[in-house]
């Protein structure tokens, strides 16, 4: 009989103790699998929520007068349009952005009242992101008109608006935003540069800031230092509230996971270890007998370690199935926006089927050594 045959027969005989140990492994594996399966969705969800809140990094021309900036809501200075391309090059060097938008804004008079003309370049998207972000893509020759402007001028979709002597088709009248966006007219950056006679220039780059930097204590300081070196013609301000809320959320989640995972591991290891210890005690005589039959210490230790390996293997598969099922069932409830990102991850199965047996073997290592060390004469003498 091979060691594995003996192990399987013993497992079948002591079903309940096996199922109890199995429960420990399955619990640990299922929790980790569920956590990692939803982790991706959770991270994307955070990004999406902040994107909905708006841009939270504003990169401005260096010589911007901040009093003017806050009074008008935009910088009256300019920087070259290719700054955005140079900024994009630093992706993954000291920042990770979701996307960057270069813009040019100026106040002009339209029928006696001020409107802000905003020229937006197509977003530069982080390589990892791949897809274009949501939001409006503006076609050349068309504009989106803010709520207040549309009301005052009686504009509607399909109408026309004249800006600095050039006619544009109204692509859309925006819903009331309750911000200065209501007196904005959004056009394509190149169109706006042309009518303002500021070709090749922008006055702001908006970005969703990096995911890792905000987890640090003062990301803005680092960012400013780096930007000073890389893009000396810029300065940066951060919309604190948004960034902080996000960083806090992420840190809370990380702290929770950091506390939770070792705790689960220790509890499950102790659980398996205690059951293995009871198993060794129950099999005292059997171990003595195997000694009398000429079994070596190694072979006896193998009986116990192989058993935990079987336990880990079965636990890994079951735990993976249950963890994935949990993630797929409850994940979409929790992460409503990015539910699509929750898919079974077969890489986790591979991981679990290596880690769980190793973990179970480690948890039963001490009982196995005790089994080997015990005095066979002692156990054979008694009942």
């Amino acid at each position: 009989m091979t060691v594995i045959a003996i192990v399987l027969k013993e497992l079948a005989h002591r079903k309940w103790s096996f199922l109890l140990s199995l429960l420990a492994v399955v619990t640990a594996v299922a929790l980790f699998v569920a956590y990692f399966t939803t982790a991706e969705a959770s991270q994307r969800e955070t990004a999406r929520v902040t994107r909905d809140l708006g841009f939270n990094l504003r990169i401005l021309p260096k010589n911007t007068d901040m009093d003017q900036f806050w009074a008008d809501g935009f910088s009256d200075q300019t920087m070259p349009e290719d700054t955005v391309g140079r900024f994009a090059k630093y992706e993954n060097v000291f920042l990770v952005y979701n996307h960057l938008v270069a813009s040019l804004e100026r106040k002009i008079l339209l029928q006696g009242k001020a409107v802000i003309v905003s020229g937006l370049a197509p977003a530069v998207v982080a390589p990892a992101q791949k897809r274009q972000p949501m939001g409006f893509a503006i076609r050349a020759g068309t504009v989106l008109v803010g709520f207040q402007v549309a009301q005052r001028l009686g504009l509607a979709k399909g109408g026309q608006i004249e800006l600095a002597g050039e006619k544009f088709a109204v692509e859309q009248c925006l819903a009331e935003s309750g911000t200065e966006d209501d007196i904005r007219v959004f056009g394509l950056l190149s169109d706006v540069q042309r009518i303002l006679k500021l070709e090749g220039l922008i006055n702001e780059i908006k970005a969703i800031d990096c995911l890792c930097l905000t987890a640090d204590q003062d990301p803005l300081k680092i960012l400013r230092a780096e930007l000073a070196k890389a893009l000396p013609e810029t300065k940066v301000i951060q919309l604190r509230a948004i960034a902080d809320a996000r960083a806090k959320q992420r840190r809370a989640l990380e702290r929770y996971a950091a506390f939770f995972s070792p705790f689960v591991l220790v509890v499950c290891a102790a659980w398996i270890g205690v059951l293995a210890m009871l198993n060794v005690r129950e099999r005292k005589i059997e171990i003595g007998l195997l000694r009398a039959l000429g079994y070596s210490s190694n072979r006896i230790a193998w009986l116990f370690l192989a058993k935990s390996a079987v336990l880990g293997g079965v636990g890994a598969v079951l735990g993976y199935a249950i963890g994935s099922a949990l993630a797929l069932n409850f994940g979409p409830e929790i992460f409503k926006v990015t539910a699509q990102a929750i898919k079974p991850d077969f890489g986790l199965l591979a991981w679990a089927s290596v880690a769980a047996p190793a973990f179970a073997a480690l948890a039963t290592f001490i009982p196995a050594m005790l089994a080997v060390a015990q005095d066979p004469a002692e156990s054979l003498r008694g009942e």
Binding site: A12, L289, S296
Partner: protein, 219 residues
């Protein structure tokens, strides 16, 4: 075949010293059937365990088949035991999750001997257990259990069988059957040392030894 030279086994406990074996001398010739008798606690089990290489004596020399047992290391002793010595215990010590055949085969699975399934089946049949071959120990009578244990002890064709009160839990009929099987082994050239309380063994014995307080008289 078995030789004890001035063997002592002393347990040092907090309650004091216990001399299980006290300067014991014994010479068992090949193909001898020895019966050892003696009061409880006189060291009979200790004698068998030391003879089987399971228990290191405190002092003295023990050799089996000319091999000094305790000059071997643990691993070598285990191999020697698997090949040369069969144990039979009063409590049978069958493995509860294995059936009759598997329990017998367990003796042939220790890596240093080759498992022999045909011999296991032959032995089980010879001991009158053919119809119970695939039953678990819990489903067997005590007499049947001890016969399984004997089959297990015989599997590797040992030269020596050490039996510790093998009939202690059996009725006279089953006890007689156990002795008949030990006698068969003996006739085929095996050496047997049996520890027993009963008198039944004596008709099979070449020699009966009386043990008292860790040593033997009549050797």
């Amino acid at each position: 075949m078995v030789r004890f030279e001035n063997v002592s086994k002393v347990y040092r406990t907090r309650a004091g010293e216990v001399r299980s074996l006290d300067g014991l001398n014994l010479e068992v010739k090949p193909c001898e059937f020895i019966v050892v008798r003696g009061p409880s606690g006189c060291g009979k089990t200790t004698l068998l365990l030391t003879a089987g290489g399971m228990l290191h004596p405190t002092s003295g020399e023990i050799s089996v088949g000319g091999q000094a047992l305790y000059s071997l290391n643990r691993r070598e002793r285990a191999v020697f035991r698997a090949r040369e010595i069969g144990f039979v215990f009063q409590m049978f010590h069958l493995v509860p999750y294995l059936n009759v055949i598997e329990n017998v085969l367990l003796a042939g699975s220790s890596a240093c001997v080759r498992p022999n399934s045909k011999r296991a089946h032959d032995l089980v049949a010879r001991l009158g257990l053919a119809s119970r071959a695939f039953h678990k120990p819990a489903a067997l009578s005590t007499g049947e259990r001890q016969r399984v244990a004997i089959a297990r002890a015989l599997l590797n064709q040992p030269k020596l069988i050490l039996a510790d009160e093998p009939t202690g839990n059996l009725d006279p009929e089953n006890a007689a059957e156990v002795f008949r099987h030990l006698e068969d082994f003996h006739r085929a050239g095996g050496t047997v040392i049996v520890v027993t309380h009963g008198t039944m063994a004596e008709e099979y014995a070449d020699r009966v030894l009386q043990m008292r307080a860790g040593s033997l008289n009549g050797s």
